[in-house]
Symmetry: C2
Subunit: 224 residues, 2 copies
DNA sequence: TAGATTGTTAATCGATTAACAATC
DNA sequence: TAGATTGTTAATCGATTAACAATC
């Protein structure tokens, strides 16, 4: 199915399409044009059609797109039907909050195991997920299929644990540590959740808005 | 200071620079070149110099950049020294997990109030933040400076609460609801934390990697 | 001074938008 | 059929990279 190299920008938009299509389905909408979809997502119809055309022909001239059918296609493109396995590394506040509030299953992932160093946690279950000792991590990786490690360890442990994971064949890390894991020549796939990056971007946009307002009222002042 | 319109891509990289500079400071590094910074972040030196040049001249020929000085500049560009006020709207699992684990103060924000509908929460304190009734939200906004609303309400409430917020002058929303808040002509600044979008992007990259491997071993098979 | 590295201009590359024939 | 809307090709726009004079 996938032929040409698809750009990051396109890939980042796919989950948004999926979410919007789910929302449309909930609201009983079963058909949509690229124009209308663009309206609702703040994108141009051209861009939407270009994006989809990277993966195939999912629409119909004069009609638009069938919402459930398109949803199925995008889910498949994203790998939601591959039954990926994930493990949680670090069952502290962040790890627990994540498992409490986020449904891995809803997005096609099985959370199969968790790992921590705290003796009182080891051997217990959390939301049905068994918690093992960090000492068993490497063994577990070698004897089970693990597609993604969800990294929720404390800051100090981020680099050494990442090293252990990658040296033992883990190819993808979902990183919640707010530590920069970028390594010059590493082939590991890293996806970051950086709350602070997100808030600081917002902070920039708010600052910009305030500056514009200030400049505007300064001009008005001058004119009066 | 800010003259030309700065692109989104640049703005999204600024928090990463900040984080890396903090990390360098912790490790006692006080000076860095665009080349070395690029190495550590997976960017070209050219790009880094271009990015900084949107805001001023922060380096020195033949020397590079002074880490703490550059950190101060970027913090200021991002608005970290403006003392922004934020309110938390919705004190459920996600809201509580956020306040438990994320330090607003570290990034220059004051969390001044929280709002919920649950009677048992109203009037209590959470990490020193007073929880008020949703009924008092509009009043509060009008009588206090609020720069950002942190939206942590349940899915169903996302759209109506957003409407209430924007109609009463809130200009920026940090959105944790996983609901698409994009409105065709809204001037509201929205920054999203979409866990599922992030995981699904990762899912795509892992799928791609697996497909490549499969294709490779199929070719090897054929040749043998 | 010689070497290093910046800030900036120009060149390249890639992504978005526009346009339109194909067709449901 | 007539109208609508796709998929795709070409045109435009913007972002990244390369190159280099300026200078610490």
């Amino acid at each position: 199915m996938k032929r040409v190299k698809v750009s990051n920008n396109v890939i980042r938009r796919l989950p948004r399409y999926l979410r919007k299509l789910d929302e449309l389905t909930e609201n009983g909408v079963s058909r949509i044009s690229s124009f209308e979809l663009g309206q609702q997502l703040g994108l141009t119809p051209s861009q939407i059609r270009q994006d989809f055309s990277c993966f195939g022909e999912f629409g119909q001239q004069g009609y638009g797109y069938n919402v459930p059918a398109l949803r199925t296609q995008i889910a498949s493109i994203l790998g939601m039907d591959r039954g990926f396995n994930a493990i949680l590394v670090g069952v502290g506040n962040i790890g627990r909050a994540l498992v409490d509030n986020f449904s891995f299953a809803e997005w096609g992932f099985n959370l199969t195991a968790a790992f921590d160093i705290k003796p009182e946690l080891i051997g217990t279950n959390f939301h049905g997920v068994p918690i093992y000792s960090n000492d068993e991590l490497v063994d577990y990786i070698h004897s089970n299929r693990v597609d993604v490690a969800v990294l929720c360890v404390p800051k100090e442990a981020a680099i050494p644990v990442t090293k252990a994971l990658t040296e033992n064949g883990i190819e993808a890390i979902w990183n919640f540590t707010n530590v920069e894991l970028t390594e010059p020549n590493s082939p590991t796939i890293v996806e970051n959740i950086h709350f602070s990056d997100s808030l600081l971007s917002l902070s920039y946009y708010v600052s910009e808005r305030l500056d514009e307002k200030a400049a505007k009222s300064a001009r008005a002042e001058k004119q009066a």
